[in-house]
């Protein structure tokens, strides 16, 4: 059933590079979508991707998905919108995605007109914004500190839908976005065509993880249809289903608040939304509300910190396993004493040694319940954290003999635990951390972003 003023958006997968299915995309095209839209990024996998600017997904995986999607886009003559390119959506990650898109365009012989929406932020601009009182913390964070800005190697602002809408108005075939809210990139095409704002945002939130809102998320694609009263959603695969429960339950997923979602320029409120089955596979949603609010952009910032070197031993020795906590405590003491005796005091003081017995309590770090049975084996992980990689590795080497040979008890013969690798130490690289959880007020949705147009056919671009 097609409703008046309907906008159909094909969402092929929850994240570019996670694996679109060509048969699903083909099936989706048969329903005459107005746009293909998806997200390519998240903070979910941790701070390394924003701090380093590198993509979580491999280039081959991203290229493969782009190949399917760009061919479908060209065939249907509809735009392709991709938000948060290269995982973090920082400029470096966006340019990495653009290069891949241009390579696919050359291979396919197409001439897509590409809009690239940059949203990485200059620290001096943010300092001025903060000085003007335009930067506010989100719980549980405090006010923006100079040290937090200094600690970030990349800072991005999460774009709203307006730059995507402007790019479509400008004739873009492909829109590549820097960091964007997951919802904004999916809502843009429907908002541009005058769809119900609450429905467009709610549809976008529901579809942002692709098949996650269906009965069987191994089928990655969904189609959302937004009209002037509500939206409908169905999986692309006829073998899969959406039910009122799978759709409404998606508002729980990775969301601190299941009813209200703050977005640039407003708030989505789904507390009164109604979910009804249209047929076996399709759910209709009405009653979602959009409350406009002063325009703010959320900031994300991450940077690199100290370095780590790790070692791992396997232990099956029953004498150790009879009291893992006591053994780990003695090991910690022995390693710290060994470092203190080997290195200058001021150097040793910069090193942290962390022991984590996998198979016992490494995951939580909490004391196991009283009377817990001994495990059959443990993997004891050693992590040295130090200001340089060289020092972290030096610490691991200094600790190695004790880590390898510490007996289960005083006076016992020297054991050798099971190292799986030689050399035993593994240089893990730098530790990354998030430093910002703030929003910045802006005069317009375009204030902190830049649009670049790229004509792929001739390889030229202009601002």
């Amino acid at each position: 059933m097609t409703r008046a003023n309907e906008t159909r958006i094909l969402v092929p997968v929850g994240a570019l590079g996670a694996g679109v299915r060509a048969d699903e995309v083909e099936a989706g095209l048969a329903l005459s979508p107005h746009a293909i839209a998806l997200d390519a990024g998240s903070t979910d996998s941790g701070p390394a991707y924003l701090a380093s600017g590198k993509s979580k997904y491999s280039r081959a995986a991203v290229k493969r998905d782009l190949t399917v999607l760009m061919a479908a886009r060209a065939k249907a003559g509809i735009p392709l919108l991709i938000g948060s390119c290269g995982t973090s959506g920082c400029d470096m990650a966006l340019d990495w995605t653009l290069e891949t898109v241009l390579e696919v365009a050359r291979e396919q012989g197409g001439r897509p007109r590409i809009a690239v929406l940059y949203s990485e932020q200059d620290k001096s601009v943010l300092r001025a914004k903060a000085a003007a009182g335009a930067v506010k913390p989100l719980a549980p964070m405090g006010p923006l500190e100079e040290e937090a800005l200094d600690a970030c190697s990349h800072i991005v602002a999460l774009l709203g839908p307006e730059p995507y809408i402007a790019a479509l108005d400008g004739g873009a075939d492909i829109v590549l976005g820097g960091r964007t809210t997951d919802t904004a990139v999916l809502a843009a095409a429907a908002l541009r065509r005058g769809g119900h704002a609450g429905a467009a945002w709610h549809a976008a939130k529901t579809a942002e993880c692709g098949g996650q809102c269906t009965l069987n998320p191994t089928y990655p694609g969904v189609m959302v249809s937004v009209d002037s009263e509500g939206f409908s959603i169905a999986p692309l695969s006829t073998a899969n289903r959406c039910t009122p429960q799978t759709v409404s339950a998606h508002m729980l997923y990775e969301n601190a608040d299941p009813f209200r979602l703050t977005e640039p320029g407003g708030l989505l409120d789904v507390a009164d939304a109604r979910y009804a089955a249209v047929d076996e596979r399709t759910v209709r949603v009405t009653g979602s509300r959009w409350e406009p609010a002063p325009y703010t952009l959320k900031l994300e910032g991450a940077g690199a910190g100290p370095f780590q070197t790790m070692m791992l031993v396997g232990i099956e020795d029953p004498a150790v396993l009879a009291d893992v906590d006591a053994f780990v405590g003695r090991m910690q003491h022995a390693l710290e004493r060994r470092l203190a005796r080997t290195l200058a005091h001021e150097v040793a003081a910069t090193i942290d040694i962390s022991l984590r017995p996998y198979g016992w309590n490494a995951v939580s770090g909490r004391p196991p319940p009283q009377g817990a049975a001994p495990p059959r084996e443990i993997g004891l992980m050693f992590v040295a954290t130090a200001p340089t990689q060289a020092l972290a590795t030096e610490a691991a080497k200094i600790c190695n003999p004790f880590f390898f040979h510490l007996p289960a008890g005083e006076g016992m013969e020297m054991p050798s635990y099971a190292f799986p690798f030689s050399p035993a130490e593994i240089e893990r690289g730098q530790v990354f951390a998030f430093h910002l959880n703030h929003v910045v007020s802006v005069e317009s949705p375009f204030e902190l972003m830049r649009t670049r147009w790229v004509e792929s056919a001739i390889g030229a671009d202009h601002d």
Binding site: T43, D44, S45, G46, P47, A48, L138, A139, P140, M141, Q245, S248, A249, L252, Y253, E254, N255, A256, D257, P258, F259, Y275, E300, A302, G305, P306, Q308, D352, S354, R356, A362, V363, S364, G365, R366, V383, T385, V431, F432, A433, F434, H435, N437
Partner: protein
């Protein structure tokens, strides 16, 4: 005593951004949901003690249509960093399984 794991068909935890963890308790039916959804044993104060966070920052939501109670709390440390043990927060629900419920 009824344990939380005995009246839920599914319990999960996950990051909600780098600074929050959210836990979803899917009760196994309307009856157990009605009986236990407001139990103080899964209230903000109890959750705060369990995860070592400020009780005023713990949020609890009832989602009646789904028989779900949602608990969200700030991470003691932001996701990542040198001392992270559960990058995606996916194992944080485990201490809840054996909570004793009243009623």
């Amino acid at each position: 005593m009824t344990k939380l794991r005995d009246v839920c068909r599914h319990i999960r935890s996950k990051n909600a951004g780098p600074f929050w963890i959210t836990v979803d308790l899917f009760f196994d039916g309307g009856e157990t949901y009605a009986r236990h959804a407001d139990d103080p044993a899964i209230g903000p104060d109890a959750v705060a003690v369990l995860f070592g966070v400020d009780p005023t920052q713990v949020k609890r939501f009832r989602i009646d249509d789904l028989n779900v109670v949602k608990l969200s709390y700030p991470r003691a440390r932001p996701q990542g960093g040198a001392f992270e043990r559960d990058m995606h927060g996916g194992q944080q629900y485990v201490p809840l399984l054996d909570i004793d419920l009243g009623g």
